[in-house]
């Protein structure tokens, strides 16, 4: 039997996958990484893209919009984001929350955030890519 590594993919709202696989591919911030069993410890950020798992018999694919990847020699954890993230976007949300507190009654005008649009665009592109890949493999 070939060597396997335990993988958990979770998002804040649900558990997505848990099981043993032979190889994990993930879209790390600095390029795609492939994790084989007994990989050295690693933490990295993920960008929008797909996480692929090679279970030996089949290849599974999951879309992530970003998140964190932690690797221990026998366990890989993918903490997937459910929200679209960008630093200035988070900042904007913080400001919105603050504003809401300041004028709890006055309604605020909704103006479109460029950073948010861009992050959404990146996510949509990655989603499309994942879909086209899936189509090809079928």
């Amino acid at each position: 039997m070939s060597m396997t590594i335990h993988v958990d993919i979770v998002s804040a709202e649900e558990e997505i996958y848990s099981g043993l696989v032979e190889m994990v591919y993930a879209p790390a911030l600095m390029g795609e990484v492939g994790i084989a069993p007994r990989h050295t410890q690693l933490v990295t950020r993920l960008k929008a893209g797909e996480v692929r798992l090679d279970t030996g018999t089949e290849e599974l694919s999951f879309f992530v919009s970003g998140g964190i990847l932690e690797v221990q020699p026998h366990i890989v954890t993918v903490l997937s984001d459910t929200a679209i993230r960008a630093d200035d976007l988070d900042e904007a949300k913080a400001l919105a929350a603050k504003k809401k507190a300041e004028d709890a009654l006055a309604d605020k005008s909704a103006n479109i955030d460029f950073a948010k649009a861009q992050a959404e665009l990146a996510e949509a592109a990655a989603q499309l890519q994942a879909i086209s890949r899936l189509r090809k493999t079928r």
Partner: protein
């Protein structure tokens, strides 16, 4: 039969109130089940996150993240999680009471407090309380998403980064069971490391990509957010459970009230019949 009619209308009005409370009770019961499921669904993430943080605490890293370091406490931040709606018994007021008690303790120690709230009851409460309010978010609904709470958490983390607060707490209701919800105040920052993994006692460190600071920043922010999210979900489950219990007792009370009114009505009816009878008999005797 003027008296009887009045009582009849009263009974009808109590009955319609009872119908409403009973409907609310049933709605809360079904929502409670869903909110409990949501708490359970979010648990793997929190568990995994805690595991990663535990590993991280054991890594012999050269870089020490400020979220992991204790500092002298001069000011603290508290995030108050409450429900959006009322009619859920003493749920919010119990939490607020505990919160105010803690504020008093901090005040006695000369510690200033920066506050933020999730939920409109908390927003209203902090508004009445006054003081330094940093952020607020309301109307997350029954299925809140993590995205909704990012802003208010970020506001607090900014305060922490700038050194305006030295500790960060969350106040929310902890779901024990349907009958019991306990208000809790929990420390989020600096991160409190729990029990350690024995397998990792040797000297090791992660490879950080792109660099330690960036990754740890992102990781710890998500950790805090996941804790807050978990708190919000728990509070939601508490809200539905508390509402169900409150509405059940309201329905029961309405039932008792109806019984009493019915008794009074019957007595009044009987009395008027007796009176009529005796009038007829007296009239017949007179003729």
């Amino acid at each position: 039969m003027a008296v009887g009619k009045e009582i009849k209308t009263k009974i009808a009005s109590v009955q319609s109130t009872q119908k409403i409370t009973r409907a609310m009770e049933m709605v809360a019961a079904s929502k409670m089940r869903k909110t409990q499921e949501r708490v359970l669904a979010a648990r793997p993430y929190a568990k995994k996150m805690a595991q990663v943080i535990r590993h991280l605490a054991q890594a012999r890293s050269e870089y020490k993240h400020p979220y992991l370091a204790e500092r002298d406490v001069k000011r603290v931040g508290v995030l108050l999680v409450s429900s959006d709606r009322g009619l859920c018994g003493g749920l919010n007021s119990n939490l607020f009471r505990k919160f105010v008690k803690q504020l008093k303790v901090w005040d006695d120690e000369g510690i200033e407090v920066v506050m933020a709230s999730i939920g409109s009851k908390g927003e209203g409460f902090l508004g009445r309380l006054g003081g330094n309010v940093n952020g607020s978010v309301t109307h997350l609904g029954e299925s809140p998403s993590l995205e909704d709470i990012i802003g208010v958490v970020k506001g607090m983390l900014n305060e922490y980064d700038e050194g305006n607060i030295d500790r960060f707490y969350i106040a929310h209701n902890d779901y024990v069971n349907t009958m019991t919800q306990s208000p809790e105040i929990m420390q989020l920052l600096p991160v409190v490391a729990e029990e350690l993994d024995d397998q990792l006692t040797h000297h090791w460190d992660y490879i950080y990509e792109p660099d330690a600071q960036d990754v740890l920043d992102q990781l710890l922010i998500r950790y805090i957010e996941s804790l807050v999210y978990q708190g919000v979900l728990e509070n939601n489950a508490c809200e539905q459970a508390a509402r169900m219990v409150a509405m059940k007792s309201a329905s029961d009370n309405a039932g008792e009230l109806i019984d009493e009114l019915q008794l009074i009505y019957n007595k009044a009816r009987q009395a008027s019949i007796t009176q009529e009878l005796s009038e007829i008999v007296a009239g017949a005797a007179a003729v």
